[in-house]
Symmetry: C2
Subunit: 415 residues, 2 copies
């Protein structure tokens, strides 16, 4: 593959991070860095704020910041995107050829042979566009590769995504803790926990992990994959309340009613739209709490996990952190062997015992595709998830990675 490059004496790489943060996007960055270093890269550049920074020629030499093996370990344990991120949507080539020219110009200036982009659906579109552009222009000496990332777990092809396991572990842990809190007073109370996930309910499904012999867990779990009916919801809560005074509901921020409206739209006055055209959601828990309060007069407690759920690396999943590191390295190795227009993926070999491989796959199959929770995993008339879903999620939250605690708090690394 890419045999025309022949024998290269030295190689430079550049890596960027894009989209929303996760607890392990830096572990993938560490994996890219370590693999590139181990495979003899000369220069390892990092884009500041992804493509948006690159277009402004903002980049760093990562070896200036990662000097020791311990620095790399701290990076693995640091949430969010060390290099900074962006939500820059690469325009189509025909609309803005100068954008592509500029990117290639900066890459040429730095003598880059390998370009890596760590991100989700939208970021994989960037890799797709750049690799197609390179093929069209017969640019064969720069490869463009993607490293998957998203807490939402909504990428196609890959078994799961780096970042999901740690967010799921945070959600399971916090729902367990909130379950203890929710039952403490002898009063009628409905606790409603709002969890991230616009169109895919993977994160909200993780609330089911909390249930066990030491925890009641969530009584109701609502994913955006099914239509949300407010009257049926009220009836369900009323039914559960007949046997217990404290009810705990986990609900995705993205649940919609039959008319296609977000449940929170009734509550939100001005709903903003981000640069990808996504609506910014919030207030689903508050909206439902108001409905419950009005109908039954019970105390309610709406709780939003908000951005905490994507950056709580102090309760990160060891499985997730390690896999994220591995897939970063896998993609670098493939690139150094000539691959381009590909993205790293996870392949589950076995559920019990849990066995997982990394591989690479055509980015076109992944870019701009959203993978949602299978309908057959959503049970009890759209109010819970199946044992099969739990068996799928459970291996991904196993193991703990202890932050380096300094002066009582986790040690991080920053630019």
């Amino acid at each position: 593959m890419n045999g025309e490059r022949g024998f290269i004496m030295s190689r430079n790489i550049i890596v960027g991070q894009s989209g929303g943060p996760t607890s392990v996007i830096n572990s993938s960055l560490a994996g890219v860095f370590q693999a590139a270093k181990d495979l003899g890269a000369s220069k390892i550049y990092g884009m500041r704020n992804g493509i948006e920074g690159l277009l402004n020629e903002q980049y760093i030499d990562m070896t200036d910041y990662l000097k020791t093996a311990m620095d790399v370990e701290i990076l693995k344990r640091t949430p969010s995107a060390f290099l900074g991120s962006c939500r820059f949507k690469l325009p189509a080539v025909e609309k803005s050829p100068e954008t592509y020219d500029k990117i290639i110009e900066v890459l040429r200036k730095l003598d880059i042979q390998h370009f890596f982009y760590i991100g989700g659906n939208d970021s994989m579109d960037t890799i797709k566009q750049l690799s197609e552009y390179a093929a069209d222009k017969n640019i064969t000496d720069i490869t463009f590769m993607g490293v998957p990332k998203t807490i939402d777990n909504d990428l196609a092809v890959t078994d799961h995504t780096p970042g999901y396991g740690s967010a799921a572990k945070y959600i399971g842990t916090t729902i367990k803790e909130l379950s203890r809190d929710a039952v403490v007073q002898p009063i009628d109370i409905v606790t409603i926990v709002e969890i991230m996930g616009r169109n895919a309910g993977w994160l909200t499904a993780a609330a089911a992990l909390a249930k066990g012999d030491d925890c009641e867990g969530a009584d109701l779990i609502y994913l955006p994959e099914t239509v949300f009916d407010i009257d049926k919801f009220l009836a369900k809560v009323e039914e559960i309340h007949k046997t217990k005074r404290q009810v705990l509901v986990a609900v995705s921020e993205g649940v919609k009613t039959a008319d296609g409206k977000y449940v929170c739209e009734a509550a939100a006055t001005n709903m903003k739209v981000d640069s990808f055209g996504h609506k910014q959601l919030s207030g689903t828990a508050s909206a439902l709490a108001n409905v419950i309060g009005d109908k039954f007069g019970w105390k309610t407690r709406p709780i939003e996990f908000s951005t905490i759920q994507r950056c709580a690396s102090h309760i990160g999943s060891l499985t997730d952190v390690n896999e994220a590191f591995l897939v970063g390295g896998q993609v670098v190795k493939a690139a150094f062997e000539g691959a381009t227009g590909k993205v790293g993926i996870y392949v589950r070999v076995s559920n019990k015992p849990y066995m997982m491989n990394t591989d690479i796959y055509d980015v076109k199959a992944i870019a701009n595709v959203e993978k949602t929770v299978p309908q057959e995993w959503i049970i009890n008339d759209g109010t819970y998830v199946s044992q099969e879903a739990i068996d799928y999620m459970s291996p991904l939250i196993q193991g703990e990675i202890t932050p380096y605690m300094v002066n009582g708090l986790p040690k991080h690394i920053k630019l």
Copy 2:
């Protein structure tokens, strides 16, 4: 002391938990249980839902649930109140003598010699009332003792309160993680974190612990001890924004404007009042985010730590958990030696190195008194806390107590 009891062959105790949950109220319960067991108590009863349950004769034999040393260790690591809690305000004796008669009747029925109540200001009032009632009625064979508890750290006399250190550690940790998250996008954004504390800003002050060479921390910290001026707040945010695009604000839920109104009152339509007459606060962060958005048009992100901050025992402070256990034991020992109408307290011997003793103190000095953050610790025109405040808080978050992780999640114990 209490020499008239003479030599008792066996003693029964009862213990209850009251008020809002913390991460370590169960560690104090474990301390009470272990000390009572070690000192030869015959029966160790637990009130279900505090005094409210006791009045309905709802109690358990704790040895039915805590059979092994490991059970006690799991209890120390379980957030919220194992026995259940209540917000029952004991009426004055003259208003409801039958309530007191009933309590004594139930205690007599169980042959209780020692009554322990773990709680905050309001719960210490219960101990005060009961011990005064016992003295008035010449009931000398039952002691009434308090064990302090509150994440709010607002109890008088004691150097700090059990529960505060773990909540502060959660706040410091999460502000660190949110700081990484807040700066990730190259956009104008104001993150506003709302932290518990009606009248005392101890918890919000803990946001200052996050700042260090690896973390920007909070740019502004607002406690309820100073008057909140919305125009001055906007001016401060605008000033900070001149040098950085991402601003992080920590604000107490209880901040009030000069006219005595809660900042969130403008946003809240129906503000409810709990059984102690406290207003239920929420929405301060949202209210301020709206004000910022309206004025500057920047993106805002209001985040409420809500009840998560009081039950996140997975990131509990080892110092806090151990001290909570110790003070529980201290109070039992004192009661067995005849003390009544007293509460356990912490006495700081030294700040650097941190050295702390437990002691007991007259409950009358503590009941119904709120200790707020000293004005001299609030600096920068009411927008930050001093190094002295940081030196006071820092020892309380030291050390980690790892939950027993089972299947990827913390193991708890429940009734």
